[in-house]
Symmetry: C2
Subunit: 304 residues, 2 copies
Amino acid sequence: MRLKTLGEVGLIERIAKKIKVDKTVIRGIGEDCAVIRLSKKKLLLLTIDMLIEGVHFKAKETSPFQIGWKSLACGISDIAAMGGVAEYAVVSLGLPAKLPVEFVDGIYKGIKSLGRRFDVKIIGGDTNSSKELVIDVAVLGFVEPRRLVSRSGAKIGDIVCVTGVLGGSYKSGRHLKFVPRLKEARALVKNYRVNSMIDLSDGLSTDLNHMAKESEVGACIYKELIPISKDASSFDAALNEGEDFELLFTLPLIEARRLAAKKPNGIRLPITQIGEIIDKKMGVKIIDRFGRVKELKPKGYRHF
Amino acid sequence: MRLKTLGEVGLIERIAKKIKVDKTVIRGIGEDCAVIRLSKKKLLLLTIDMLIEGVHFKAKETSPFQIGWKSLACGISDIAAMGGVAEYAVVSLGLPAKLPVEFVDGIYKGIKSLGRRFDVKIIGGDTNSSKELVIDVAVLGFVEPRRLVSRSGAKIGDIVCVTGVLGGSYKSGRHLKFVPRLKEARALVKNYRVNSMIDLSDGLSTDLNHMAKESEVGACIYKELIPISKDASSFDAALNEGEDFELLFTLPLIEARRLAAKKPNGIRLPITQIGEIIDKKMGVKIIDRFGRVKELKPKGYRHF
């Protein structure tokens, strides 16, 4: 079978099936980050994200600064989605030998600039020659056990929320210069009982389906409530485009009310309640203002 | 300036210069692994290694099993070189969409087979479509502070040793199926006062120069003493070819004598004393059986 036929989710499921871990591994393949038990008070988070020229960016249209920035931002966003703090990163580069050294300097300027903003230390890496530019960044972080949150913890009755506004990320170039929602995520897990969280990389429709599947629940969201970016060309863009890197999270109704009444310090972004978690049997639905219910199909980014 | 002109070592120095870390970072860019202080009793090791089709292997001549095996083996070898134990790995893949799924299965068979051997758990990763096959593996391990060893600790008067035999790794295909010397490294750091260690990835001539430079010492080795593999086509192959993934290490004379008298349990490989650490002013030398001294130039693998 070709990868194209199987798709990314199918591939990950196929890989995860045959992998053996032990009880120190709290979360493994299938989550935004792997989670390892270090001690009673400390969990370790580890994530890795690859960007490839011609797939994730066009070398001629993207500045090296943006490539570097984004390569680290993806990993920090994954750590944020688990409620953690990002601390260290290692950077693996595949570089065409004819590339000017100044281009590599530019990539590192982007990495360091974002690193400084979130106090993430660059502690090592690997450099290789390659035909296409490849950059792969592993980010290491920590989280307290009671603050750990993941895509698989959504509970029936939870309110579904998103930070910020959605859509038009590619068109506006926001996907290359987004700020990971780490501070917002920390403020949320410190102040509220958040049951599940995921960062919106593949698009709301796809990531909500991921969350529902991993949590073994259903979800329904209201079309009218989805916060649309001024950059989005249509409602469908906000629903499906991806690379928004906003947080999608769920929390019990009582907590959602507290959050709506008073946002915690450190969150300036809008937070919007867009729906609720329902029984798995009901599936994942979207409801329009006339009350018409449709299945919400994952129409976001397909990797293969 | 082009990367080709600067070279890999120049590039790494250029990158390392402008990187800021903090006091939790015991070793950063320039070592085999990054080293982070977790507690008084525990240091964390993190390393990342990228393999690229057409650079590190030819897809048609290499089995997916071997690609997977090697991608993890490089990282475990790095952890070994610091005296540590490898525990977890995350795997980033760039895969051509037309690749058969069975090829990816084969890569994971190789990864899991080596993982089982050293009890390294695969806990996550990233999958992407790409033109060429790229596989990047980050390995996480731990080491006790008193057992940490690195390439930068060699002291004047130390004896220089290598495990196993050198040369012919490419020709014989050993570079794709080597067993990282983790058990040997652990037996060494547990039983002897090892001052410095490095894994031989770029070739003895190059890696000894790395070690000398990072330790701010010189070194001299004896041509007659270098253990040559039966696969090596010449003495120069043993000296320069690289990808042997044996351990090069130094320890005080008194410790070297103990080691020569009785190898610790768990080491079946030959261990050969090949020279000594000398003053930096003397440089890095090789002496033949007629007592003729030559400068030992780093003639190993150049990445750009």
